[in-house]
Amino acid sequence: MSAAFTLYDYVLSGNCYKIRLFASLLAMPYQSVAIDFYPGYEHRSERMLSLNPAGTLPVMVTSAGGQVLTETNAMLAWMALHDGGAQTPWFPAVDPALGPQVQQGLAFGAGLTDSIGLARLHAMLDWPVDGEAAKRAGLKHLRALELHLTDRQIDGGLWWAGAHPTIADLACFPYVALSPDAGLEHDGFPAIRRWLYAVRSLPGFATMPGIHPLHELR
């Protein structure tokens, strides 16, 4: 099968992992180009800045049409639509009840990069940022998510919105699952733990360093 897109990728990036994970769940073939984010800071090289002036990873270039996408939420949306068209359960964009909820989750997921994501880069790679402030923001985000998922679980739901996992779950999953890398443990968050387990149980689930395969939980 031919690659649906090219992914400029870094193995330790939670944002890149969103795309690798969704591709694995959809069994969508793609081509990965490793970018030396660390120690080489290649995402800030001229070649990469000309592709994405924001200097962030991942970058997706679609095979058909050559669209360049630099926001993971846009990439997730593209993949859902490319896979299942407007009917895709992963992105019920025009459903009057679910569509706005999914947008809410996508925005929440994007916010995690600057909280848990930065706290993690600081703890792991000594990223020159205020690690403590990022960690405090991360803890706030975990508490907010715990509340949201508790409400959902009281209503009998498991996912961010609706009866099927959506790209909102995938936008949130990586940094929440990786928060222990930044010293933010999951112990006090039972609803988050249930939801993490559900995502990890999805057929086609893929791991990344810091997220162990499910056999260790059993």
Partner: protein, 280 residues
């Protein structure tokens, strides 16, 4: 803790990439260290402003805070023609520097932590191998280690039984030699240099000397980072945080022979920094 012993070893404190990012503060053996200058002329100072000695070896900047430092060991393979030298940056881990080394010496965890890469179920058996302390240079060596690996290196095309040798030339350095997939008569060299920030936190600088002219640098580093970051979350959860040297504290199994020898060797030389040595 035996700070006096640890002070007289050399430690990695920087590499070329980190120096290019500008001046930086770091820690060594519990104390603050200032790092500046360039890779050709690194400037390393302690908190009081005292200049510390430096040397460049294995693509890293090394320093020591001791008055009578032991000589820095050699890794002769680093000078062999045809090898590609791959410094991999550093990864911070909240664990004892000795635990980081010990984990690097352990093969039994491969199928469970590096699933489908360095190991796979059901191939979890570790065959008997040989461990010795080589008296002439006082190093721990494990040889004749064999393990089935689905993806032994970035250069591997499929599963192979990999031959391993392990070497511990200093308490915070571990070197491994493993079958090079595209050149089975040769061995790749993979090393971790551990910078002890304190007894319970370290910066780990992996370094490789490989026979692989084809794989792009970014892929080589990311393969190594993938492996090491799988270990990191395990390492941060080990208890007690410091490495126990009393064999009664953690029951060894046959596959842990290297670890048993490493702990004994640390004990014999009095290298207790990062060790749980309350019963000694």
């Amino acid at each position: 803790m035996s700070l006096a012993y640890a002070r007289n070893d050399w430690y990695v404190i920087a590499d070329r990439n980190s120096l290019e990012q500008g001046p930086r503060r770091t820690r060594l053996l519990g104390d603050e260290i200032h790092v500046s200058g360039s890779y050709a002329h690194p400037v390393i100072k302690d908190a009081s402003g005292r200049m510390l000695p430096t040397q460049i070896k294995f693509d890293h900047v090394w320093t020591t805070v001791g008055d009578r430092p032991r000589p820095l060991f050699d890794i002769p393979e680093g000078n062999e023609p045809g090898r590609r030298l791959v410094p991999c940056g550093m990864v911070r881990v909240k664990c004892s520097p000795l635990r980081a080394v010990e984990n690097f010496l352990d093969i039994a965890h491969f199928p469970f932590v590096h699933t489908d890469v360095l190991g796979a179920e059901p191939y979890t058996e570790v065959e008997p191998y040989k461990v010795e302390i080589r008296e002439q240079n006082d190093e721990v060596w494990a040889t004749k280690v064999k393990f089935f690996q689905p993806l032994a290196a970035k250069s591997a095309a499929g599963g192979i039984t990999t031959d391993y040798e392990y070497r511990v030339p200093a308490p915070t350095t571990a070197v491994l030699y493993k079958t090079c997939p595209p050149k089975p008569e040769a061995q790749d060299v993979i090393t971790i240099f551990v910078q002890p920030r304190s007894e319970t936190e370290c910066d780990v600088w992996p370094w490789m000397a490989l026979y692989d002219d084809d794989t792009p640098y970014a892929d080589l580093v990311q393969f190594q980072q993938m492996i090491f970051l799988q270990d990191r979350s395990i390492l941060e959860n080990q208890r007690p945080i410091k490495l126990p040297l009393d064999p009664r504290m953690e029951i060894p199994t046959r596959s842990d022979l290297t670890s048993v020898a490493y702990r004994r060797w640390l004990k014999k030389r009095g290298a207790f920094y990062g060790a749980l040595a309350e019963t000694l």
